[in-house]
């Protein structure tokens, strides 16, 4: 069996899921809202990218930047318009989850109407895709040259932000203990806005990349949401490196898992989503904290140093 194709697919999708899941993990860890409207941040990013590329003739790079801002603003608007007022009124956490479902419905079906009127219910950003090389039987295209570097750069930038900048550290502090952050002088509402902006933005970029990679619909975000949650839950919904590992695991498990099941057990590839679902159930039931608390970086350092100082 040649594994080059599922390998490349896994890496590509794994990267996209990672970006999307990092957005979800950020917003969950800081606000404790399991945001189902996160799906729509993916979709909006995808549509903005596809339409700018196809209708306006923009390059993919510029369109992705626009997608970043579109989803970033949508994320901030969700929080300012719905979540924050609800929290101030003392809403129960589960109501915030339900409200996020409501937001998701509104955004998704507004987009459906728009897409229906403009005949773009299915759309793909028509970029000039060129084959630039081969890895086994799998083709490496210009799209991969966008996906991998953007993912790596985003992860590095986020890591630097969270560990070497004041707002980044404050966000981690807020995720740990909001009241303590407040009494330390953190302007939590300003930071919260910053967090939504970045979380929404990277999710939108991931959506944009997806629209260049394959056809999208107004439901693409909902389709991705299961994987995003699976990836985030693997990171305990709070861990940065855990989420990255989670995104890749989901990407690999889906592609290899379904290829394997299809080849040897004749299972239809339509069952692909079940893999993410099983991951969610297993992690939640067996180890709800996922990889959180498992200090990957520390562990690696230990290995390198051989455990000594």
């Amino acid at each position: 069996m040649d594994l080059s194709i599922p390998l490349i697919n896994s890496l590509t999708l794994g990267s996209l899921y990672t970006l999307m899941a990092l957005g979800l993990t950020m917003s969950f860890s800081v606000t404790k809202i399991a945001n189902f409207a996160h799906a729509e941040l993916v979709t909006i990013g995808g549509y903005v990218t596809a339409l700018l590329v196809n209708w306006m003739g923009y390059g993919l790079g510029e369109s992705l930047i626009a997608a970043f801002f579109a989803s970033a603003l949508l994320a901030v608007a969700m929080d300012e318009g719905v979540f924050k007022p609800m929290i101030k009124r003392g809403s129960k956490p589960l109501f915030l989850l339900v409200a996020s479902i409501g937001i998701g419905l509104v955004v998704r079906y507004l987009l459906f109407i728009y897409a229906d009127l403009n005949a773009v219910i299915t759309v793909q950003a028509k970029t000039n895709v060129q084959l630039i090389g081969r890895f086994g039987r799998a083709g490496i295209t210009t799209i991969h040259l966008w996906v991998f570097p953007i993912t790596i750069v985003s992860v590095v930038l986020l890591h630097l932000m969270f560990h070497y900048t004041k707002p980044g550290k404050a966000l981690r502090a807020m995720a740990d203990n909001e009241d303590l952050a407040r009494v330390s002088g953190v302007k939590i509402y300003t930071l919260r806005r910053l967090m939504w902006f970045i979380a929404g933005g990277i999710t939108g970029v991931a959506g944009g990349l997806w629209s260049a990679y394959s056809v999208i619909t107004p439901e693409i975000g909902w389709y991705a949401l299961l994987r995003i949650f699976a990836a985030s839950i693997l990171g305990g919904l709070v861990s940065f490196w855990g989420t990255i590992a989670g995104g890749l695991i989901v990407g690999f498990a889906e592609n290899f898992g379904i290829t394997f099941m299809n080849t040897y057990f004749n299972v239809s590839t339509a069952y692909r989503p079940l893999i993410s679902f099983v991951i969610i159930v297993i992690v939640l039931l067996l180890k709800p904290t996922g990889f959180a608390g498992f200090d990957i970086v520390g562990w690696l350092k230990e290995k390198v140093k051989g455990g000594g100082e």
Partner: protein, 239 residues
């Protein structure tokens, strides 16, 4: 007239619809230690949180340094010179010890001075220097309490609220902690100390308040309270 750094007037506050503290008139003199004692659940922590704006105020006001701060959010109060060491959850477990200390100085902008303070604080709490790169969640109870106080000091507060800093610690550590608090007071910081251990607190403080069921039931210089038969009978029991 005494110089009060903070004062609450007819303060009534709580959580949601629940009123926890009622009609609290409280003053803390600048440069002194004011202790608050009372049984578990009497609202001591709630009162401290109310001074910092972390509860819902139904009535009354809080005046800090001559300014009415009742309506200000906690992050602004922190910038005005209040510091708080919570009773529980008083460090950021997933941040390193050093990052915790940096968070303590979050509201400050004087980078040079922060660096100096960091060095000094690490001298005062040598155990923290050793553990700088460790996550705060991995510290022992006593170390965590030290870190929490060190964090609050990094904010250079004028007034420090300490909520049961010695609870559930080994006696040796308790002595250490109280020595640190004495140092803090000597360096010019006003301290409000909440303690369940009334004898310890009242012999330590200048002025003492006794809370019961969300109200102040007695006040006076710590030594006087300890000598007061009524107080001893009601709150210390016969020992």
């Amino acid at each position: 007239m005494a110089d009060y750094i903070i004062e609450s007037k007819e303060l009534t506050a709580g959580y949601g619809k629940a009123v926890i503290i009622q009609d609290v008139n409280f003053q803390a003199e600048r440069g002194k230690v004011t202790a608050i004692v009372g049984p578990n659940g009497s609202g001591k922590s709630t009162f401290l949180k109310t001074l910092f704006g972390l509860t819902r105020v139904f009535n009354g006001s809080v005046v800090f340094d001559g300014e009415d701060i009742t309506k200000l959010p906690p992050e602004v109060r922190a910038r005005k010179g209040l510091g708080f060491v919570f009773q529980v959850n008083n460090v950021f477990p997933n941040l390193t010890v050093r990052e915790n200390l940096e968070m303590g100085a979050y509201a400050r902008t004087d980078k040079e001075q922060i660096r100096k303070d960091m060095g000094e604080i690490l001298d005062i709490f040598p155990i923290l220097r050793e553990r700088q790169k460790q996550k705060a969640g991995s510290l022992s109870g006593g170390e965590r309490q030290m870190l929490a106080m060190a964090m609050a000091l990094m904010g250079r507060p004028k007034l420090l609220l300490l909520d049961e800093p010695a609870a559930a610690l080994a006696p040796k550590v308790v002595t250490q902690i109280f020595m640190k608090i004495r140092d803090i007071v000597n360096s010019g910081v006003t301290v409000i100390l909440v303690e369940q251990h009334a004898k310890r607190a009242l012999s330590f403080c200048d002025m003492g308040y006794v809370f019961s069921s969300g109200r102040i039931v007695m006040k006076g210089p710590g030594k006087d309270l300890l000598a007061d038969e009524k107080f001893v009978e009601a709150f210390l029991g016969k020992r």
